[in-house]
Protein backbone atom coordinates (compact mmCIF):
# COMPACT_ATOMS: atom_id res chain seq x y z
CA UNK A 1 0.00 0.00 0.00
CA UNK A 2 1.34 3.41 -0.94
CA UNK A 3 -0.21 6.67 0.20
CA UNK A 4 2.39 8.92 -1.42
CA UNK A 5 1.59 11.06 -4.44
CA UNK A 6 3.74 10.36 -7.48
CA UNK A 7 6.34 12.98 -8.37
CA UNK A 8 4.04 14.21 -11.14
CA UNK A 9 1.01 14.39 -8.84
CA UNK A 10 3.10 16.28 -6.30
CA UNK A 11 4.14 18.77 -8.97
CA UNK A 12 0.49 19.14 -10.04
CA UNK A 13 -0.49 19.78 -6.43
CA UNK A 14 2.19 22.41 -5.97
CA UNK A 15 1.58 24.27 -9.21
CA UNK A 16 -2.21 24.32 -8.82
CA UNK A 17 -1.75 25.66 -5.29
CA UNK A 18 0.49 28.45 -6.59
CA UNK A 19 -1.90 29.38 -9.40
CA UNK A 20 -5.01 29.19 -7.22
CA UNK A 21 -3.40 31.27 -4.48
CA UNK A 22 -2.66 34.03 -7.00
CA UNK A 23 -6.41 34.78 -6.65
CA UNK A 24 -6.87 36.36 -3.25
CA UNK A 25 -9.65 35.88 -0.75
CA UNK A 26 -10.76 39.43 -1.62
CA UNK A 27 -11.17 38.42 -5.27
CA UNK A 28 -13.68 35.77 -4.15
CA UNK A 29 -15.36 38.11 -1.70
CA UNK A 30 -15.87 40.61 -4.53
CA UNK A 31 -17.25 37.91 -6.86
CA UNK A 32 -19.64 36.86 -4.10
CA UNK A 33 -20.80 40.48 -3.75
CA UNK A 34 -21.16 41.26 -7.46
CA UNK A 35 -22.33 37.84 -8.66
CA UNK A 36 -19.95 38.11 -11.65
CA UNK A 37 -18.76 34.81 -13.10
CA UNK A 38 -15.09 34.21 -12.19
CA UNK A 39 -13.87 34.34 -15.80
CA UNK A 40 -10.37 35.53 -14.86
CA UNK A 41 -9.92 32.42 -12.73
CA UNK A 42 -11.34 30.05 -15.35
CA UNK A 43 -9.17 31.64 -18.07
CA UNK A 44 -6.04 31.31 -15.95
CA UNK A 45 -6.74 27.59 -15.55
CA UNK A 46 -7.58 27.25 -19.24
CA UNK A 47 -4.27 28.92 -20.17
CA UNK A 48 -2.44 26.43 -17.98
CA UNK A 49 -4.11 23.52 -19.75
CA UNK A 50 -5.78 22.40 -16.51
CA UNK A 51 -9.28 22.16 -17.96
CA UNK A 52 -8.21 19.27 -20.17
CA UNK A 53 -7.02 17.21 -17.23
CA UNK A 54 -9.21 14.17 -18.00
CA UNK A 55 -9.58 14.69 -21.76
CA UNK A 56 -7.47 12.08 -23.62
CA UNK A 57 -4.21 13.31 -25.10
CA UNK A 58 -5.33 12.56 -28.67
CA UNK A 59 -8.12 15.12 -28.18
CA UNK A 60 -5.86 17.84 -26.81
CA UNK A 61 -6.06 17.04 -23.10
CA UNK A 62 -3.69 15.40 -20.68
CA UNK A 63 -5.45 12.06 -20.27
CA UNK A 64 -5.10 11.97 -16.52
CA UNK A 65 -7.59 10.49 -14.10
CA UNK A 66 -10.08 11.49 -11.46
CA UNK A 67 -7.21 11.24 -8.93
CA UNK A 68 -5.39 14.13 -10.59
CA UNK A 69 -8.66 16.03 -11.04
CA UNK A 70 -9.28 15.55 -7.31
CA UNK A 71 -5.81 16.92 -6.48
CA UNK A 72 -6.60 19.91 -8.71
CA UNK A 73 -9.94 20.68 -7.04
CA UNK A 74 -8.59 20.06 -3.55
CA UNK A 75 -5.87 22.67 -4.02
CA UNK A 76 -8.31 25.15 -5.57
CA UNK A 77 -10.47 24.86 -2.46
CA UNK A 78 -7.59 24.83 0.03
CA UNK A 79 -6.50 28.10 -1.59
CA UNK A 80 -9.80 29.66 -0.45
CA UNK A 81 -11.63 29.75 -3.80
CA UNK A 82 -14.58 27.84 -2.34
CA UNK A 83 -17.36 26.37 -4.44
CA UNK A 84 -17.32 29.55 -6.51
CA UNK A 85 -13.86 28.63 -7.79
CA UNK A 86 -14.30 24.87 -7.84
CA UNK A 87 -17.62 24.57 -9.69
CA UNK A 88 -16.57 26.24 -12.95
CA UNK A 89 -13.50 23.99 -13.04
CA UNK A 90 -15.16 20.70 -12.11
CA UNK A 91 -17.60 21.13 -14.97
CA UNK A 92 -14.67 20.42 -17.28
CA UNK A 93 -14.16 17.09 -15.55
CA UNK A 94 -17.33 15.12 -14.92
CA UNK A 95 -19.79 16.22 -17.64
CA UNK A 96 -17.35 15.22 -20.42
CA UNK A 97 -16.61 11.89 -18.72
CA UNK A 98 -19.45 9.90 -20.43
CA UNK A 99 -18.31 11.40 -23.75
CA UNK A 100 -14.74 10.30 -23.02
CA UNK A 101 -15.86 6.82 -21.96
CA UNK A 102 -18.76 6.11 -24.31
CA UNK A 103 -18.79 8.74 -27.09
CA UNK A 104 -18.19 7.81 -30.71
CA UNK A 105 -14.83 8.89 -32.21
CA UNK A 106 -16.68 11.53 -34.25
CA UNK A 107 -18.43 12.91 -31.15
CA UNK A 108 -15.13 13.07 -29.27
CA UNK A 109 -13.41 14.74 -32.20
CA UNK A 110 -16.21 17.30 -32.42
CA UNK A 111 -16.39 18.33 -28.78
CA UNK A 112 -13.43 17.25 -26.66
CA UNK A 113 -10.69 19.51 -28.08
CA UNK A 114 -12.77 22.65 -27.39
CA UNK A 115 -13.43 21.40 -23.85
CA UNK A 116 -9.73 20.80 -23.27
CA UNK A 117 -8.94 24.35 -24.43
CA UNK A 118 -11.68 25.79 -22.23
CA UNK A 119 -13.55 27.20 -25.24
CA UNK A 120 -16.71 25.30 -24.28
CA UNK A 121 -18.68 25.96 -21.12
CA UNK A 122 -20.77 23.05 -19.95
CA UNK A 123 -24.05 22.59 -18.20
CA UNK A 124 -25.30 19.34 -16.76
CA UNK A 125 -28.99 18.61 -17.48
CA UNK A 126 -30.22 15.67 -15.46
CA UNK A 127 -32.30 16.74 -12.43
CA UNK A 128 -35.93 17.70 -12.93
CA UNK A 129 -38.43 19.47 -10.69
CA UNK A 130 -40.83 16.51 -10.70
CA UNK A 131 -38.23 13.75 -10.39
CA UNK A 132 -35.48 14.91 -8.04
CA UNK A 133 -33.27 12.00 -7.09
CA UNK A 134 -35.61 9.52 -8.79
CA UNK A 135 -33.89 9.91 -12.12
CA UNK A 136 -35.97 7.15 -13.74
CA UNK A 137 -39.00 9.44 -13.53
CA UNK A 138 -37.65 12.35 -15.53
CA UNK A 139 -40.24 13.76 -17.90
CA UNK A 140 -38.05 15.45 -20.50
CA UNK A 141 -38.70 13.58 -23.73
CA UNK A 142 -36.65 13.23 -26.89
CA UNK A 143 -38.62 12.10 -29.90
CA UNK A 144 -36.92 10.74 -32.96
CA UNK A 145 -37.62 12.50 -36.26
CA UNK A 146 -35.46 10.84 -38.89
CA UNK A 147 -31.84 11.58 -38.15
CA UNK A 148 -32.61 13.94 -35.31
CA UNK A 149 -34.37 14.14 -31.97
CA UNK A 150 -36.71 16.85 -30.76
CA UNK A 151 -36.56 17.52 -27.04
CA UNK A 152 -39.20 19.06 -24.78
CA UNK A 153 -39.18 19.35 -21.02
CA UNK A 154 -37.53 21.14 -18.16
CA UNK A 155 -34.57 20.69 -15.90
CA UNK A 156 -33.67 22.27 -12.61
CA UNK A 157 -30.42 23.09 -10.80
CA UNK A 158 -28.53 23.55 -14.01
CA UNK A 159 -25.28 25.09 -12.96
CA UNK A 160 -23.61 27.35 -15.53
CA UNK A 161 -26.66 27.55 -17.84
CA UNK A 162 -26.25 31.33 -18.17
CA UNK A 163 -22.77 30.86 -19.64
CA UNK A 164 -23.07 27.39 -21.15
CA UNK A 165 -22.18 26.68 -24.76
CA UNK A 166 -22.99 22.96 -24.40
CA UNK A 167 -25.19 20.70 -22.33
CA UNK A 168 -25.00 17.08 -21.28
CA UNK A 169 -28.69 16.22 -21.36
CA UNK A 170 -30.59 13.16 -20.21
CA UNK A 171 -34.00 12.57 -21.78
CA UNK A 172 -36.53 9.77 -22.12
CA UNK A 173 -36.56 8.14 -25.51
CA UNK A 174 -38.83 5.22 -24.53
CA UNK A 175 -41.68 5.01 -21.98
CA UNK A 176 -40.75 4.06 -18.41
CA UNK A 177 -40.92 0.30 -17.85
CA UNK A 178 -41.43 -0.41 -14.10
CA UNK A 179 -39.45 -3.64 -14.51
CA UNK A 180 -36.49 -1.75 -16.01
CA UNK A 181 -37.02 1.86 -14.94
CA UNK A 182 -33.53 3.07 -15.93
CA UNK A 183 -33.74 1.76 -19.48
CA UNK A 184 -35.12 4.00 -22.21
CA UNK A 185 -33.13 7.06 -21.16
CA UNK A 186 -30.71 8.57 -23.65
CA UNK A 187 -27.77 10.88 -23.07
CA UNK A 188 -26.93 13.73 -25.47
CA UNK A 189 -24.01 16.14 -25.60
CA UNK A 190 -25.06 19.04 -27.71
CA UNK A 191 -24.80 22.82 -28.22
CA UNK A 192 -26.82 24.91 -25.79
CA UNK A 193 -29.27 26.44 -28.25
CA UNK A 194 -30.66 29.55 -26.57
CA UNK A 195 -33.41 29.94 -29.15
CA UNK A 196 -34.90 26.69 -27.81
CA UNK A 197 -33.83 26.76 -24.17
CA UNK A 198 -35.02 29.41 -21.73
CA UNK A 199 -32.95 29.94 -18.60
CA UNK A 200 -34.33 31.21 -15.29
CA UNK A 201 -31.79 31.79 -12.56
CA UNK A 202 -32.46 30.61 -9.00
CA UNK A 203 -31.32 32.92 -6.20
CA UNK A 204 -29.51 30.91 -3.59
CA UNK A 205 -27.60 30.87 -0.31
CA UNK A 206 -24.04 30.78 -1.61
CA UNK A 207 -21.90 30.64 -4.74
CA UNK A 208 -23.63 33.70 -6.09
CA UNK A 209 -21.12 34.15 -8.93
CA UNK A 210 -21.81 30.74 -10.44
CA UNK A 211 -25.43 30.53 -11.51
CA UNK A 212 -27.90 27.75 -10.80
CA UNK A 213 -30.96 27.68 -12.97
CA UNK A 214 -34.19 26.17 -14.05
CA UNK A 215 -34.24 25.61 -17.81
CA UNK A 216 -37.19 25.16 -20.13
CA UNK A 217 -36.55 23.18 -23.30
CA UNK A 218 -38.99 23.79 -26.10
CA UNK A 219 -38.42 21.93 -29.36
CA UNK A 220 -34.64 21.62 -29.06
CA UNK A 221 -33.38 19.73 -32.09
CA UNK A 222 -30.45 17.42 -31.54
CA UNK A 223 -28.79 15.50 -34.38
CA UNK A 224 -28.52 11.77 -33.72
CA UNK A 225 -24.76 12.19 -34.00
CA UNK A 226 -24.84 14.01 -30.65
CA UNK A 227 -25.99 10.88 -28.79
CA UNK A 228 -23.49 9.74 -26.17
CA UNK A 229 -23.12 5.96 -26.35
CA UNK A 230 -26.25 3.95 -27.08
CA UNK A 231 -29.87 5.03 -27.34
CA UNK A 232 -31.76 3.89 -24.23
CA UNK A 233 -28.62 3.33 -22.15
CA UNK A 234 -28.04 6.93 -21.16
CA UNK A 235 -28.48 6.39 -17.44
CA UNK A 236 -25.79 3.72 -17.36
CA UNK A 237 -23.40 5.95 -19.31
CA UNK A 238 -24.18 8.73 -16.89
CA UNK A 239 -22.93 6.63 -13.97
CA UNK A 240 -19.43 7.28 -15.26
CA UNK A 241 -20.13 10.91 -14.57
CA UNK A 242 -21.92 10.49 -11.24
CA UNK A 243 -19.21 8.63 -9.32
CA UNK A 244 -16.49 11.11 -10.34
CA UNK A 245 -18.92 13.89 -9.40
CA UNK A 246 -19.25 12.44 -5.89
CA UNK A 247 -15.48 12.12 -5.58
CA UNK A 248 -14.82 15.65 -6.79
CA UNK A 249 -17.51 17.31 -4.70
CA UNK A 250 -16.23 15.34 -1.68
CA UNK A 251 -12.69 16.60 -2.16
CA UNK A 252 -14.00 20.14 -2.62
CA UNK A 253 -15.79 19.95 0.73
CA UNK A 254 -12.54 18.73 2.31
CA UNK A 255 -10.56 21.55 0.68
CA UNK A 256 -13.05 24.22 1.76
CA UNK A 257 -12.93 22.80 5.29
CA UNK A 258 -9.15 23.02 5.24
CA UNK A 259 -9.23 26.63 4.06
CA UNK A 260 -11.61 27.48 6.92
CA UNK A 261 -9.52 25.64 9.52
CA UNK A 262 -6.36 27.37 8.28
CA UNK A 263 -7.98 30.79 8.70
CA UNK A 264 -9.44 29.90 12.07
CA UNK A 265 -6.16 28.50 13.41
CA UNK A 266 -4.32 31.63 12.31
CA UNK A 267 -6.97 33.78 13.95
CA UNK A 268 -6.85 31.71 17.16
CA UNK A 269 -3.10 32.25 17.35
CA UNK A 270 -3.33 36.00 16.84
CA UNK A 271 -6.51 36.98 18.66
CA UNK A 272 -5.67 37.81 22.28
CA UNK A 273 -8.47 37.93 24.87
CA UNK A 274 -7.97 37.79 28.65
CA UNK A 275 -4.25 38.21 28.07
CA UNK A 276 -3.60 35.18 25.90
CA UNK A 277 -4.27 33.90 22.39
CA UNK A 278 -7.72 32.31 22.28
CA UNK A 279 -6.19 29.20 20.66
CA UNK A 280 -4.60 28.43 24.03
CA UNK A 281 -8.07 27.60 25.31
CA UNK A 282 -8.96 23.99 24.69
CA UNK A 283 -12.56 24.98 24.02
CA UNK A 284 -11.19 26.70 20.92
CA UNK A 285 -8.35 24.31 20.10
CA UNK A 286 -10.07 20.95 20.41
CA UNK A 287 -12.93 21.59 17.98
CA UNK A 288 -10.35 22.75 15.42
CA UNK A 289 -8.23 19.65 16.01
CA UNK A 290 -11.31 17.42 15.80
CA UNK A 291 -12.41 19.06 12.56
CA UNK A 292 -8.93 18.61 11.10
CA UNK A 293 -8.92 14.91 11.97
CA UNK A 294 -12.30 14.40 10.28
CA UNK A 295 -11.12 16.19 7.15
CA UNK A 296 -8.06 13.98 7.05
CA UNK A 297 -10.18 10.81 7.26
CA UNK A 298 -12.64 12.08 4.64
CA UNK A 299 -9.76 12.88 2.29
CA UNK A 300 -8.44 9.34 2.58
CA UNK A 301 -11.70 7.65 1.57
CA UNK A 302 -12.14 10.21 -1.21
CA UNK A 303 -8.73 9.47 -2.69
CA UNK A 304 -9.41 5.76 -2.37
CA UNK A 305 -12.62 6.17 -4.38
CA UNK A 306 -10.70 8.15 -7.01
CA UNK A 307 -8.06 5.43 -7.19
CA UNK A 308 -10.71 2.73 -7.61
CA UNK A 309 -12.43 4.66 -10.41
CA UNK A 310 -9.14 5.26 -12.22
CA UNK A 311 -8.32 1.57 -11.98
CA UNK A 312 -11.66 0.62 -13.50
CA UNK A 313 -12.95 -0.95 -10.32
CA UNK A 314 -16.40 -0.54 -8.80
CA UNK A 315 -16.38 2.53 -6.57
CA UNK A 316 -20.05 3.24 -5.80
CA UNK A 317 -19.79 2.46 -2.09
CA UNK A 318 -16.55 4.43 -1.67
CA UNK A 319 -17.59 7.41 -3.80
CA UNK A 320 -20.86 7.70 -1.86
CA UNK A 321 -19.12 7.27 1.48
CA UNK A 322 -16.59 9.92 0.51
CA UNK A 323 -19.30 12.41 -0.32
CA UNK A 324 -21.17 11.60 2.96
CA UNK A 325 -18.16 11.97 5.24
CA UNK A 326 -16.57 14.86 3.38
CA UNK A 327 -19.75 16.94 3.30
CA UNK A 328 -20.12 16.52 7.08
CA UNK A 329 -16.43 17.10 7.78
CA UNK A 330 -16.29 20.18 5.56
CA UNK A 331 -19.41 21.63 7.12
CA UNK A 332 -18.17 20.99 10.65
CA UNK A 333 -14.83 22.59 9.83
CA UNK A 334 -16.47 25.74 8.47
CA UNK A 335 -18.89 25.89 11.39
CA UNK A 336 -16.03 25.59 13.88
CA UNK A 337 -14.10 28.23 11.94
CA UNK A 338 -17.00 30.67 12.22
CA UNK A 339 -17.32 29.90 15.94
CA UNK A 340 -13.59 30.42 16.47
CA UNK A 341 -13.89 33.89 14.97
CA UNK A 342 -16.76 34.77 17.31
CA UNK A 343 -18.68 37.80 16.04
CA UNK A 344 -16.12 38.38 13.31
CA UNK A 345 -16.93 34.95 11.89
CA UNK A 346 -20.31 36.40 10.96
CA UNK A 347 -18.68 39.31 9.13
CA UNK A 348 -17.92 38.89 5.44
CA UNK A 349 -14.44 40.39 5.60
CA UNK A 350 -13.07 37.40 7.54
CA UNK A 351 -14.08 35.08 4.66
CA UNK A 352 -15.18 32.07 6.75
CA UNK A 353 -18.75 33.33 6.49
CA UNK A 354 -18.66 32.79 2.71
CA UNK A 355 -17.05 29.35 3.08
CA UNK A 356 -19.71 28.39 5.65
CA UNK A 357 -22.53 29.28 3.23
CA UNK A 358 -20.85 27.57 0.31
CA UNK A 359 -19.93 24.33 2.06
CA UNK A 360 -23.55 23.76 3.12
CA UNK A 361 -24.27 22.82 -0.47
CA UNK A 362 -22.35 19.56 -0.26
CA UNK A 363 -24.81 18.02 2.22
CA UNK A 364 -27.45 18.41 -0.50
CA UNK A 365 -25.61 18.18 -3.79
CA UNK A 366 -24.85 16.29 -5.91
CA UNK A 367 -26.93 13.85 -3.84
CA UNK A 368 -28.34 14.31 -0.35
CA UNK A 369 -26.70 12.71 2.68
CA UNK A 370 -29.92 10.74 3.19
CA UNK A 371 -29.87 9.24 -0.29
CA UNK A 372 -26.24 8.25 0.25
CA UNK A 373 -27.32 6.38 3.38
CA UNK A 374 -30.09 4.72 1.39
CA UNK A 375 -27.52 3.64 -1.19
CA UNK A 376 -25.20 2.19 1.43
CA UNK A 377 -28.08 0.47 3.25
CA UNK A 378 -29.35 -1.16 0.11
CA UNK A 379 -26.26 -1.82 -2.01
CA UNK A 380 -23.59 -2.42 0.61
CA UNK A 381 -25.51 -3.88 3.54
CA UNK A 382 -28.14 -5.62 1.42
CA UNK A 383 -31.06 -4.18 3.39
CA UNK A 384 -34.48 -3.94 1.75
CA UNK A 385 -35.09 -0.78 -0.24
CA UNK A 386 -37.14 1.66 1.82
CA UNK A 387 -38.70 3.70 -0.98
Amino acid sequence: MDFALTEQQELIRKEVATLARSFSADYWLEKDRSGEYPWEFVKAFAAGGWLGVVIPEEYGGSGLGVTEAAILLHEICVAGAGTTGASPIHFYVFPPMPVVKHGSPALKERYLPAIARGDSVMSFGVTEPNAGTDTSRIETRAERLGDRFVVNGRKVWNTNARQATHILLLARTAPRDPAKPFAGLTLFFTPFDRTKITVREIEKMGRRAVDSNEIFIDGLEIPATDIVGEVGRGFYHLLDSLNPERVLTAIEAVGIGRAAIERASQYAKERVVFGRPIGQNQAIAHPLAQAWAKLEAAELITMKAAWLFDHGRPCGAEANTAKLLAADAGFEACDVAVQTHGGYGYAKEFHVERLFREVRLYKIAPVSQQMVLNYLSEHVLGLPKSY
Partner: protein, 259 residues
Protein backbone atom coordinates in the same frame (compact mmCIF):
# COMPACT_ATOMS: atom_id res chain seq x y z
CA UNK B 1 21.89 29.40 -28.59
CA UNK B 2 22.50 27.31 -25.52
CA UNK B 3 21.56 29.00 -22.25
CA UNK B 4 22.35 27.62 -18.83
CA UNK B 5 20.35 28.66 -15.78
CA UNK B 6 21.78 28.07 -12.33
CA UNK B 7 19.08 27.68 -9.70
CA UNK B 8 18.87 26.97 -5.99
CA UNK B 9 16.20 25.17 -4.02
CA UNK B 10 15.17 27.19 -0.96
CA UNK B 11 12.50 27.05 1.76
CA UNK B 12 9.15 28.48 0.74
CA UNK B 13 8.86 32.21 1.45
CA UNK B 14 6.11 31.56 4.00
CA UNK B 15 8.31 29.21 6.09
CA UNK B 16 8.60 29.94 9.79
CA UNK B 17 12.32 29.32 10.11
CA UNK B 18 13.58 27.50 13.21
CA UNK B 19 17.20 27.00 14.17
CA UNK B 20 18.27 23.34 14.10
CA UNK B 21 19.71 21.32 16.96
CA UNK B 22 23.39 22.09 16.28
CA UNK B 23 22.76 25.83 16.15
CA UNK B 24 24.55 26.13 12.82
CA UNK B 25 21.77 25.34 10.37
CA UNK B 26 18.02 25.69 10.19
CA UNK B 27 15.68 22.84 11.08
CA UNK B 28 14.48 21.53 7.71
CA UNK B 29 11.71 19.28 9.07
CA UNK B 30 8.36 19.98 7.43
CA UNK B 31 9.71 22.67 5.12
CA UNK B 32 8.16 23.14 1.69
CA UNK B 33 10.90 23.69 -0.88
CA UNK B 34 10.66 25.94 -3.90
CA UNK B 35 12.86 27.33 -6.66
CA UNK B 36 14.31 30.58 -5.33
CA UNK B 37 12.08 33.34 -6.77
CA UNK B 38 14.95 35.34 -8.34
CA UNK B 39 16.05 32.14 -10.08
CA UNK B 40 12.55 31.84 -11.55
CA UNK B 41 13.09 35.21 -13.24
CA UNK B 42 16.31 33.75 -14.68
CA UNK B 43 14.50 30.62 -15.94
CA UNK B 44 11.73 32.72 -17.47
CA UNK B 45 14.23 35.01 -19.22
CA UNK B 46 16.17 32.05 -20.61
CA UNK B 47 12.95 30.60 -22.02
CA UNK B 48 12.05 33.96 -23.55
CA UNK B 49 15.46 34.31 -25.21
CA UNK B 50 15.05 30.83 -26.69
CA UNK B 51 11.47 31.52 -27.83
CA UNK B 52 12.40 34.87 -29.37
CA UNK B 53 15.24 33.29 -31.33
CA UNK B 54 13.02 30.39 -32.37
CA UNK B 55 15.66 27.85 -31.46
CA UNK B 56 18.12 26.95 -28.74
CA UNK B 57 18.37 24.94 -25.60
CA UNK B 58 17.80 25.87 -21.96
CA UNK B 59 19.60 23.76 -19.38
CA UNK B 60 18.78 24.12 -15.67
CA UNK B 61 21.53 23.29 -13.17
CA UNK B 62 21.19 22.91 -9.42
CA UNK B 63 23.65 21.97 -6.72
CA UNK B 64 21.85 20.35 -3.82
CA UNK B 65 20.80 17.14 -2.10
CA UNK B 66 18.30 14.58 -3.48
CA UNK B 67 15.31 16.81 -2.81
CA UNK B 68 16.70 19.44 -5.22
CA UNK B 69 15.46 17.22 -8.06
CA UNK B 70 11.95 18.55 -7.38
CA UNK B 71 13.17 22.07 -8.08
CA UNK B 72 14.78 20.96 -11.33
CA UNK B 73 11.55 19.17 -12.26
CA UNK B 74 9.68 22.46 -11.76
CA UNK B 75 12.12 24.17 -14.14
CA UNK B 76 11.55 21.41 -16.70
CA UNK B 77 7.80 21.89 -16.25
CA UNK B 78 8.24 25.61 -16.99
CA UNK B 79 9.92 24.64 -20.26
CA UNK B 80 13.63 24.02 -19.73
CA UNK B 81 14.87 21.32 -22.09
CA UNK B 82 16.98 19.30 -19.67
CA UNK B 83 18.55 19.54 -16.25
CA UNK B 84 21.78 18.73 -14.45
CA UNK B 85 21.77 17.85 -10.78
CA UNK B 86 25.07 18.39 -8.94
CA UNK B 87 24.60 15.97 -6.09
CA UNK B 88 27.52 14.61 -4.10
CA UNK B 89 28.30 14.23 -0.38
CA UNK B 90 31.46 16.23 -1.16
CA UNK B 91 29.20 19.26 -1.61
CA UNK B 92 27.17 18.86 1.59
CA UNK B 93 28.88 21.84 3.23
CA UNK B 94 29.47 23.71 -0.04
CA UNK B 95 29.99 27.44 0.41
CA UNK B 96 29.43 29.95 -2.38
CA UNK B 97 32.94 29.52 -3.81
CA UNK B 98 32.67 25.72 -3.93
CA UNK B 99 29.27 26.10 -5.59
CA UNK B 100 30.68 28.58 -8.12
CA UNK B 101 33.57 26.23 -8.93
CA UNK B 102 31.21 23.28 -9.44
CA UNK B 103 28.97 25.39 -11.68
CA UNK B 104 31.97 26.67 -13.60
CA UNK B 105 33.13 23.10 -14.21
CA UNK B 106 29.69 22.17 -15.63
CA UNK B 107 29.66 25.32 -17.73
CA UNK B 108 33.06 24.41 -19.22
CA UNK B 109 31.60 21.05 -20.21
CA UNK B 110 28.32 22.42 -21.53
CA UNK B 111 29.73 25.55 -23.18
CA UNK B 112 26.58 27.68 -23.12
CA UNK B 113 26.67 31.16 -24.70
CA UNK B 114 24.74 32.70 -21.83
CA UNK B 115 24.47 31.90 -18.13
CA UNK B 116 21.57 33.28 -16.10
CA UNK B 117 21.21 33.24 -12.30
CA UNK B 118 18.99 34.92 -9.74
CA UNK B 119 20.56 37.97 -8.09
CA UNK B 120 20.68 36.01 -4.82
CA UNK B 121 19.01 33.03 -3.21
CA UNK B 122 16.31 34.00 -0.75
CA UNK B 123 17.47 31.63 1.99
CA UNK B 124 20.94 32.80 3.04
CA UNK B 125 20.90 35.92 0.82
CA UNK B 126 24.64 35.62 0.11
CA UNK B 127 24.36 36.92 -3.46
CA UNK B 128 27.94 35.84 -4.14
CA UNK B 129 27.76 32.90 -6.54
CA UNK B 130 27.15 34.94 -9.72
CA UNK B 131 30.23 37.10 -9.19
CA UNK B 132 32.43 34.20 -8.12
CA UNK B 133 31.23 32.10 -11.04
CA UNK B 134 32.07 34.76 -13.62
CA UNK B 135 35.44 35.29 -11.93
CA UNK B 136 36.28 31.55 -12.09
CA UNK B 137 35.16 31.44 -15.73
CA UNK B 138 36.80 34.74 -16.61
CA UNK B 139 33.54 35.86 -18.22
CA UNK B 140 31.92 39.29 -18.08
CA UNK B 141 29.11 39.64 -15.57
CA UNK B 142 26.18 42.02 -15.14
CA UNK B 143 24.20 41.74 -11.93
CA UNK B 144 20.69 42.78 -10.81
CA UNK B 145 19.49 43.02 -14.39
CA UNK B 146 15.98 44.26 -15.15
CA UNK B 147 16.16 44.40 -18.95
CA UNK B 148 18.07 42.20 -21.33
CA UNK B 149 18.36 41.59 -25.04
CA UNK B 150 20.70 39.31 -26.95
CA UNK B 151 21.62 40.75 -30.36
CA UNK B 152 20.48 39.01 -33.55
CA UNK B 153 23.75 37.22 -34.30
CA UNK B 154 24.15 36.04 -30.72
CA UNK B 155 27.47 37.79 -30.15
CA UNK B 156 26.54 40.34 -27.52
CA UNK B 157 23.97 40.97 -24.86
CA UNK B 158 22.70 44.36 -23.77
CA UNK B 159 21.64 44.40 -20.13
CA UNK B 160 20.28 47.15 -17.94
CA UNK B 161 19.86 47.56 -14.23
CA UNK B 162 18.11 50.11 -12.15
CA UNK B 163 20.24 52.77 -10.49
CA UNK B 164 18.99 55.76 -8.63
CA UNK B 165 17.03 57.91 -11.04
CA UNK B 166 17.40 55.70 -14.10
CA UNK B 167 18.83 52.70 -15.89
CA UNK B 168 22.46 51.74 -16.25
CA UNK B 169 22.98 49.93 -19.57
CA UNK B 170 25.83 47.53 -20.33
CA UNK B 171 26.96 45.72 -23.46
CA UNK B 172 28.63 42.41 -22.75
CA UNK B 173 30.29 40.11 -25.28
CA UNK B 174 29.00 36.55 -25.05
CA UNK B 175 29.56 34.23 -23.33
CA UNK B 176 28.55 36.16 -20.24
CA UNK B 177 26.89 35.75 -16.86
CA UNK B 178 23.79 37.74 -15.96
CA UNK B 179 21.88 37.81 -12.69
CA UNK B 180 18.18 38.58 -12.62
CA UNK B 181 16.47 41.21 -10.49
CA UNK B 182 12.74 41.36 -9.79
CA UNK B 183 11.03 43.21 -12.63
CA UNK B 184 12.99 41.47 -15.40
CA UNK B 185 9.83 39.54 -16.29
CA UNK B 186 6.80 37.78 -14.87
CA UNK B 187 7.62 34.07 -14.57
CA UNK B 188 5.09 31.78 -16.20
CA UNK B 189 3.17 29.14 -14.31
CA UNK B 190 3.96 25.64 -15.54
CA UNK B 191 1.08 24.29 -17.61
CA UNK B 192 -0.35 20.82 -17.05
CA UNK B 193 1.17 19.79 -20.39
CA UNK B 194 4.50 21.19 -19.22
CA UNK B 195 4.30 19.16 -16.02
CA UNK B 196 3.49 16.00 -17.96
CA UNK B 197 6.28 16.66 -20.43
CA UNK B 198 8.74 17.26 -17.58
CA UNK B 199 8.51 13.60 -16.63
CA UNK B 200 10.07 12.61 -19.92
CA UNK B 201 12.94 15.12 -19.81
CA UNK B 202 16.40 14.20 -18.63
CA UNK B 203 17.85 15.11 -15.23
CA UNK B 204 21.50 14.12 -15.34
CA UNK B 205 23.17 13.29 -12.04
CA UNK B 206 26.68 14.66 -11.79
CA UNK B 207 29.18 13.94 -9.01
CA UNK B 208 32.23 15.97 -8.08
CA UNK B 209 34.53 13.36 -9.61
CA UNK B 210 32.65 13.65 -12.95
CA UNK B 211 33.85 17.25 -13.06
CA UNK B 212 37.38 16.44 -11.93
CA UNK B 213 36.68 18.07 -8.57
CA UNK B 214 37.43 16.68 -5.12
CA UNK B 215 36.19 17.58 -1.67
CA UNK B 216 37.63 20.90 -0.60
CA UNK B 217 37.33 22.51 2.79
CA UNK B 218 34.87 25.40 2.65
CA UNK B 219 36.40 28.87 2.75
CA UNK B 220 33.41 30.05 4.70
CA UNK B 221 31.85 28.28 7.65
CA UNK B 222 28.88 29.14 9.80
CA UNK B 223 29.85 29.82 13.42
CA UNK B 224 26.35 30.14 14.80
CA UNK B 225 22.80 31.07 13.89
CA UNK B 226 20.95 33.29 16.34
CA UNK B 227 17.25 34.01 16.38
CA UNK B 228 16.14 37.62 16.51
CA UNK B 229 15.24 38.80 20.00
CA UNK B 230 11.46 38.77 20.50
CA UNK B 231 9.80 42.00 19.53
CA UNK B 232 8.95 44.21 22.49
CA UNK B 233 5.21 44.62 22.97
CA UNK B 234 3.46 47.58 21.35
CA UNK B 235 1.99 50.44 23.30
CA UNK B 236 -1.57 51.71 23.09
CA UNK B 237 -1.89 55.42 23.71
CA UNK B 238 -5.08 56.15 25.65
CA UNK B 239 -7.05 59.34 26.02
CA UNK B 240 -9.02 61.71 23.80
CA UNK B 241 -7.85 62.16 20.23
CA UNK B 242 -6.18 65.55 20.62
CA UNK B 243 -4.10 64.48 23.63
CA UNK B 244 -3.38 61.06 22.17
CA UNK B 245 -2.09 62.56 18.89
CA UNK B 246 0.18 64.92 20.82
CA UNK B 247 1.54 62.02 22.85
CA UNK B 248 1.98 59.92 19.68
CA UNK B 249 3.96 62.66 17.94
CA UNK B 250 6.07 63.20 21.05
CA UNK B 251 6.78 59.45 21.38
CA UNK B 252 7.64 59.12 17.69
CA UNK B 253 9.98 62.09 17.90
CA UNK B 254 11.63 61.63 21.28
CA UNK B 255 11.46 57.89 22.00
CA UNK B 256 11.39 56.20 18.61
CA UNK B 257 13.24 59.07 16.89
CA UNK B 258 11.26 58.16 13.80
CA UNK B 259 10.24 61.72 12.89
Amino acid sequence: MKILVAIKQVPDTATQVKIGAGGKAIDTAGITWIVSPYDEFAVEEALRVKEKRGQGEVVAVCLGPDRAKEALRSCLAMGCDRAIHLNDPAWTAADTLTTARALAAVIKQEQPQLVLCGRQAIDDDMGAVTAQLSEVLGWPCAAWIMEESVDADGKNVRAARQVEGGLEVFDLPLPAVISAQKGLNEPRYPTLKGIMGAKKKEIKDVKASDLGLGAEPPQLSVVALEALPPRPPGRVIQGDVATAVKELVRALREEAKAI
